[in-house]
Structure formats: structure tokens, C-alpha cells
Amino acid sequence: MIVGLDMGGTHVDAVLIDKGNIIDVAKTPTDHTNLFGSIWKTLNCLLKDKDISSIEHINLSTTISTNAIVEGKIAPVGMVIESGPGMDPSFLACGKENIFITGYVDHRGREIKPFNPEEIQEAVAKFRDKDIKACAVVAKFSIRNPMHEINISRLLDDEFSPVTMGHMLSGKLNFPRRVYTSYLNSAVYYVFKSFCESIRKAMKKENINVPVNVLKADGGTISLDAGQQYPVNTILSGPAASLMGALAFKPGDKDAVFLDIGGTTTDISFVADGISLFEPLGINISNYNTLVRAIYSVSIGLGGDSAIHVEDGEIEIGPRREGFPMALGGSVPTPSDAMIVLGLLDFGNKEQAVSAMKQIGDKLGLDVKGTSEYIYKKMGTMIKQEVNHILDEINSKPVYTVKELLYGKKLKPQYISAIGGPAKALAPLLEREFNLPCYVPENYEVANAIGAALAKTTAEVTVLADTAEGKLSVPEMGLYEKIDKNFTIYEAKQKALQLLKEKASAIGTIDKEFEAEITEESSFNMVRGFYTSGKNIRIRAQIRPGLLYELGGANND
């Protein structure tokens, strides 16, 4: 048996799954003053009278880190930033204290100028003055050569904790994002650590001795211990949980649109050949661009409870919510009211929904039914327009080879999967609008918890080899070592897969989950003068994100 738990803004949902069947679900309201308490209460409720000894693992999707960042309840951070030549780095200041130091490593990982230890001593003094505990050290091109970050962090280690090093968070190039990601990691470290400690304590008390994993924004999991070290990876895992949940009901290897239609917003995601699409670089949170790998998700201000107004004789739906639907005692008409009038949703006071539609209809010269149908249809049109717009963007994303430009894959959805309160009511409309089948899973109220339960561990490694320099770098693992001049792309791929396996077991992968793949590979001849001086090899490998297994019996296919 496995347990999935999703801590949402309004509810904590939990689900118990055994061999692809949902055994039980539990739901409790989220107490924002005691998030850990809410989780524990829901788990207790789910596991009451269950055979705890047959639980294999517990997967949590939590908003602890997200909330800490969004609400600004984060620790002060001392930043050491080595920017080298390029853009003026002053815009990167993000911690309580930012020290910009000299020193520079170039794009091939060659040290152009060493850092100055005296500048680090100054940083230490300043951090100490401001009573800062958490630090981060980030250098330009540190993924090509992390030695500056490693050596600087050694000088800070005795006095500060954590000392996040930029190169450990991602193998992708983007110095500003590396700075922000490292900053956020240190900033949420203590909040997340205390959450982890509470979980461990409670588990011990209840005598539950199973691995606990946390969900990441890329729809995969990591062990609680690994999460504690790099908590930034746990931000914004909600859309990931919902996509994974929806995927559990509609597996397959086609392209598809996934919609999570809520009260306030609709989240739009995609799968390509059955695999979820990722943000190209990483997710954005509170105006910080990060390198946190995340499922691509666009949130639009359109949901069942979106406020409807008439502007210049035209109906405007959203983008804000102004309270409950009128059927539930709100003061502004909503799409939910329209769907209640049309008999597609059944809750609240239908008369109040009718008067909501009358209020709009009077301004437009339409009757109640006509108004409701108009609003219902308009919602479908808005979703379709937005999806098409996003698809255009995705399909025109920059490519860098002639082959990709001429023959690259274009995303072309074959079906829609919709979850959320109004999903079922909107499904027939979406089918017509998109001319595609639209599936609404049965247990969609707990889709996020299901997604969390079934998510597999994910990990990524980047192997960069420069045979002219005779150096190899694996940033996410802090590896920087010598290689032979004859090192080949084949060896680089083998190395990537082997390291990925090591990394995976360190963060909690069980053997049957391990399905590694090479996601990017290139090898450039470096020519100096008229002779090949070496090869510049770049490999990225990942554990294929996905589900432990698909759900049986619960599909509405």
C-alpha cells in the first residue's frame, strides 16, 4: 500500500492506494496556522484501522516552502556572488546582505582570475554583524568548474549553515537563476527542516517506519532527507501533483492537454508522447526566476467562481474571483451560477443562480437560459483560445539546429483531460470546442493526492566534458575531475547513466523505478588553427518522470 497526501490551499487530501486500486480517501480543511497539524490529522484519519505494516511509502505534496516564500516568512540570507565580466550584476542582489566578489571562471571552466580570500573574510564579518546564519555562494559558469564555489563555501562552513552552492542545484546555464535558486534554497531551509523534523517525530511516535518522500515541481519525488538539503525543489508542486493524478487515469503515449479547472483559476499543462512537458529552464515564484525543474503549467484567471461583469455590452469573465457564486450567497454572478441554471452543476440555491443570470441578461437583452448558455459557451471559447495561444508559443520555442527547425516535433494534442470542480460540466463543451475527446477522471476530487502517491523519484544529471582541457564536470553532484584526451561521447553517456543511478539511490529511488534516459547529447569538435584540439561534449540524463503504475478500474474511458 502507498499513501499520497496533498496539502492544498483549502483542503488536505490523502489517499491510500493498493496495487492500482484506491482503498480509501480522507479530506480535512487546511489550518493555515498549523500546516503540520493539518497533515497529521488527515493522515491519522486515512490510516485509522488500517494495517500500517503493509504501507510501502508515504508521498507528500506540501506547500510549506511555497508559502514561506510567497508570504515572506523566510530566513535572512548572506549571498556571495562572483559575477565575472558581463552584465552589471547589481540587479542580482536578493538576500539580506549581498557581497559581490572578484574572480572569474570562463565558459570552458578555465580559471581566469582566482577569488580573493580577503573578500570572503569581509563577507563573513558582515554576515556575522547582521546575525545571518544561512548563506549561498554562486559563481558565473560554476557548472563548468565549481572550484570557486566549493573553496569559498569551505571558508564559510564553520560559521554558517546552510551554505548552498549554486552548481549543486542544476546543470543548466543561467547565472541569475542560479543566484535566485540558491538564495531561495537557503531562505526556506529552516522552515522546511523544522517541517521534516515534525514529520519524523510524529512518525516515530505513531510507530510508522516507512520511507517518506516529498513531491517536487517536476512531478517526481525525493526522500525527505534529500528534500531537507535542497528544499527549493519542493516549491510549487501542486500543479505537478494534479497533472500526475490526471495522468494516472488516462495513460498512453499521446500528446494531450491537461486542464485543472478550479474555482479561481484554470491550470493548463501538456504531455508530449505521454511525458509531461517541463518549463524550459525552471519555475518562477514570487518574481524570482529559478532553475527548479518544473512541469510546464500556465495558470489563467478563469474558473467556476470567476466574477462576471458586463463591459460595453460584452460579458467579461474573470480574471478575478470576487467571492462565492450567487447560488452560495455571493454578490457577483459566476460561471458556476450559469452552469447551475443549465442543470450542469448541482449545488447551492438555484433561484439565486437564476437571479444572477437575470442580472446579466437584463443588461444584454437576453433571457436567463440564453445568458447562461452564452456564458457557458464563452468559457469554453476562452479556454480554447488560451490553449491555442500557449501551443503556438510552445511550438515556436527556439531551436538551434537545421534539423530541428525543419523537422522538429510539434505538439498536437489528441485528447483533453480535465479535473476540478466544474470539469465534468465543461467536458461536453470542451469536446465540441476542441473537437477532441475530453476525459474527466472519477476520483478527480483527490487527483492531486493520487498524483503524489503514484509519482516516481526523479533526478537529472549533466555531464560536461572538455577533452582539450582534460576536464569533466557533473555540477549537480559537485564532481569535477580529470579525463583522458580520448574521452568519447559514448563514455560520457555511460558516466551520466552510472552517476544518475548513484544519485537516484541517494535520494530514495527503489530499483524498479529506475528507468534512465539520455535527454540531450552533443559533441562539438573544437578546432584551433586548422587542427582539432579536442571535443566539447554535453550530456544530460534523467530518470524518466512518470507513475509507479496506472490506476485500474477508476477510469471513465
Binding site: F141, F175, N289, V402, L405
Partner: protein
């Protein structure tokens, strides 16, 4: 998040799977380190900077500019069409006001490609700026355009294409042709009979540094542009004046390129040459991107930058001052020079030998321009290459009068297929291209 002052479109297409040959300077690796630098700086996250994929230029786009022998698809690869298409995309974004400025960082380059194309010259087969400009002129109306070519080599192809077109002012900075390929670009190459003065060459001595380039810009180029009042300024942004470039002898820097771009303030920049792929390109391209976006570029410096080593000699400074005075006075006298040149002539011809260094082809050609009082005049090219081709091409200019149009068609019809292996007609008024 950082915000650009100017909305900037980047068509960044490194063509990582295309090379002239594995060890040729124009190879897969050429923009690799530029991409590293651009990605690492987080350029794509700057609010106001947007990346675009190139479009593909069409055969028709190419035929508006060139006479490819025997035809376009025999001479170009898809990479050439993508490179020109990248330039077109950049210009289109500017014309449609999606962005304020655009930079096409594409390869291969194009400024050595002349009107007639038998093969590859100086790594160029089609002139990507010219293909771009003639495409947007067809779609957005004829514009007065200035091309400022900052490549270290003389842009002899662009000069040839716009030789007789005073709607296109061509200004080229380059290392003196007596010391560098293609050996042209002297100050007396001043434009065809209808555009005398609208082709300006500034041959600079080897070892010219930042000071010299900026002096030429401030004291010659910008005053001329101010008088010419172009609708669009294009920077043909070759980067081989850099002090680390392996095939030239100048002392220009990344910061200098950024400063030059900032002062020139072009609407569109298109990458041309530049083969110091590691020491220069990442920094020069970053500098130009920041300058075009209106962002601070003062910290863009090469790892081995040393201002002392890069200082230009006093002798060069003095030489450049005199050169600028001389060229500027020619520009001021351009109408007189035109009158003296034309006098009562009805046709003006010029004959040239052209060498295709990359492909090893020799061409001899004669261009004949009609001196027409009401338009730029129909003109023809007779050309022979040592590949065995002999061609005759008629070109009707964009502003052609009825008489010149009729004359052009008549010449095309009368040209005998027996004598030539190919006969072409390029009618820029009606956007028609024919060959037989």
C-alpha cells in the same frame, strides 16, 4: 527582474549541425560559446528581450537580389535559406513593431555575395542583408535604408548589389584592401552613375583600435547618416575587427563594438563574419545585445583585455583623421562628382574580375548602366566564369520608368539563348524574375 529599455528581438540560430567543412572557420562550433555566454547571462529572462526562430527565405526572395547560376537551388543549401530567413524575421519583427530593434545572430554570413553567384566567396553565397531588405521593401514599401558594415572585410557583395541604388546608402568600415581579402573597398568606389556618393568606403590601416573606429563613427559616419536621413539603419555586424581574430589585424574590442552599436543606434543588426569564436564572439555578441537593448554594457570585457596593449599608434590616429576629412569632402561634393562623371553619357560600363576564394572560381563580368533622367536606369550584366558558364542578366530597378521597363523586357527577349548558357530578367518594379 531586469527590464530592457528597448524591446529587442533576437533571432539566434547557431546552426549546430552545419559547417562548410569540419575544420573550416565557418563550422558547427562557431556560435557555441556565444550561446553559452548568452544563456549564462540569463538574456532570455530579461523583460523586453525575446528570442525568435528564423523563417526560411524562399527562392523568390533570393532572386530579387541575385542571379544564381544556373539557379538558386543549385547554389544554396537550406542553411543559407535559414540564415537569410533569420535576417528577414529580424527585420519583420521591427517593421511590424513587435520590437524596437532586432539582432539576427545567424550563420553563414553573406556580405561578399554579389549580384551574380557562381559559388561561395568569403564563406558567403547569398547576401543575407540584401535578401532581407528586398523582402521587406516588397512587403512594407520602399524605404530609405543605410547599411553600416562593421565587418573587418570590405563588403564587396553588398557594395555590388546596391552600387546604383541611392535608396540604399552603403557605408563600410574595413581593413584596407591592400592588406586583406577581398582587396577592394577604396574610397574612389563611390557608387554607380545614379547613386554616386551613396557607396562609402572607409579603408582603415591594420592595427586600428577602439579610438579609431569611434572617431570614424562620430566624425564621418554619423554626420553622413544625419544628412541622409534613412528610415532604417542596418548594422552589418561582422566581428572580425576584434584583436583576437585569427584572420585579420585590427585591435578592436568587445566593449568597442558595444559602444559603436550604442552610438550608431541601428534598427537591425545582422551578424556577418568574425572567427575568434572563443576569445571574441561571446563577448562581442553579448555587448551588442546589451547595447541594442539599452542596457549597461560597461562590464563586458574579454578575459585577456589589456587597454595598454590595444592602444592605437599616434600615426594611425593622424592617418584616420585625414582619411575622414577626405571622404567627407567627397560626400559633400557628390552631386558635382556625379555631373562630371555622367556628362553626356547614355551608358556607363565597368568591367571586373571576381575571384571566389572559397570555391576557387574566376569570373569576368561587365556591368552596363543606362543613364536615365527619370529613374536609376535599366542595367545589364554580361558574365563568364571558368566553370564554363556565360550569362546575360537584365535588371530593372525598383524606381524604373516605363521606358526602362520596356527596354529591359526587350533586351531579355532579344538575348539569344544560343550565345549564352543562361539569360535572366529581374524586374524589381513588378517583382518578377525570369530566366531562359
Amino acid at each position: 527582474m531586469i527590464k530592457a529599455k528597448n524591446k529587442l528581438g533576437l533571432v539566434f540560430f547557431p546552426a549546430f549541425d552545419w559547417a562548410i567543412s569540419p575544420t573550416h572557420p565557418e563550422r558547427e562550433e562557431r556560435l557555441l560559446y556565444t550561446q553559452d555566454q548568452v544563456f549564462e547571462e540569463g538574456i532570455e529572462d530579461i523583460n523586453g528581450i525575446k528570442f525568435y526562430n528564423p523563417d526560411m527565405a524562399t527562392v523568390k526572395d533570393v532572386e530579387r537580389v541575385h542571379f544564381c547560376v544556373p539557379d538558386v537551388m543549385t547554389r544554396v543549401t537550406q542553411s543559407h535559406l535559414i540564415s537569410a530567413g533569420g535576417a528577414i524575421k529580424a527585420a519583420e519583427m521591427v517593421m511590424e513593431k513587435d520590437v524596437d530593434k532586432a539582432f539576427a545572430i545567424v550563420r553563414p554570413p553573406g556580405h561578399h555575395a554579389q549580384r551574380v553567384v557562381y559559388g561561395d566567396r568569403g564563406f558567403c553565397i547569398i547576401n543575407i542583408e540584401a535578401v532581407m531588405l528586398e523582402n521587406i521593401r516588397q512587403r512594407f514599401g520602399n524605404k530609405k535604408i543605410a547599411i553600416v558594415d562593421t565587418d573587418c572585410h570590405h563588403g564587396d557583395g553588398t557594395q555590388d548589389i546596391y552600387w546604383n541604388d541611392k535608396d540604399t546608402l552603403y557605408i563600410s568600415f574595413h581593413q584596407d584592401g591592400r592588406t586583406l581579402y577581398p582587396g577592394t573597398g577604396f574610397i574612389d568606389e563611390f557608387g554607380g552613375p545614379s547613386a554616386i556618393g551613396y557607396n562609402i568606403n572607409i579603408p582603415l590601416p591594420p592595427e586600428t583600435g577602439e579610438e579609431g573606429f569611434l572617431y570614424v563613427l562620430d566624425n564621418l559616419v554619423i554626420p553622413i547618416l544625419r544628412e541622409y536621413k534613412p528610415d532604417i539603419i542596418v548594422n552589418s555586424a561582422g566581428q572580425d575587427n576584434h584583436y583576437t581574430d585569427p584572420i585579420t589585424n585590427m585591435k578592436f574590442t568587445a566593449h568597442g563594438y558595444a559602444e559603436l552599436n550604442h552610438r550608431l543606434n541601428p534598427d537591425i543588426a545582422v551578424l556577418e563574419g568574425g572567427y575568434s569564436i572563443e576569445g571574441a564572439l561571446p563577448y562581442v555578441n553579448l555587448g551588442i545585445i546589451l547595447a541594442m537593448a539599452g542596457l549597461d554594457y560597461s562590464r563586458v570585457k574579454e578575459p585577456d583585455y589589456d587597454p595598454e596593449k590595444l592602444r592605437q599608434s599616434h600615426r594611425i590616429t593622424e592617418y584616420i583623421k585625414e582619411l575622414c576629412d577626405k571622404i567627407y569632402s567627397c560626400w559633400r561634393r557628390k552631386d558635382d562628382i556625379q555631373r562630371e562623371t555622367i556628362k553626356n553619357k547614355q551608358y556607363i560600363s565597368r568591367s571586373r574580375n571576381i575571384y571566389y576564394d572559397t570555391d576557387g572560381i574566376r569570373e569576368t563580368q561587365t556591368q552596363k548602366f543606362k543613364v536615365c533622367p527619370s529613374c536609376s536606369g535599366v542595367n545589364t550584366i554580361q558574365s563568364r566564369s571558368d566553370l564554363g558558364y556565360e550569362i546575360f542578366a537584365v535588371s530593372i530597378p525598383r524606381d524604373a520608368c516605363k521606358a526602362c521597363i520596356d527596354e529591359g523586357y526587350k533586351m531579355y527577349e532579344e538575348a539569344s539563348r544560343g550565345k549564352y548558357s543562361k539569360v535572366y530578367l529581374q524586374d524589381k518594379v513588378n517583382d518578377v524574375f525570369m530566366s531562359k
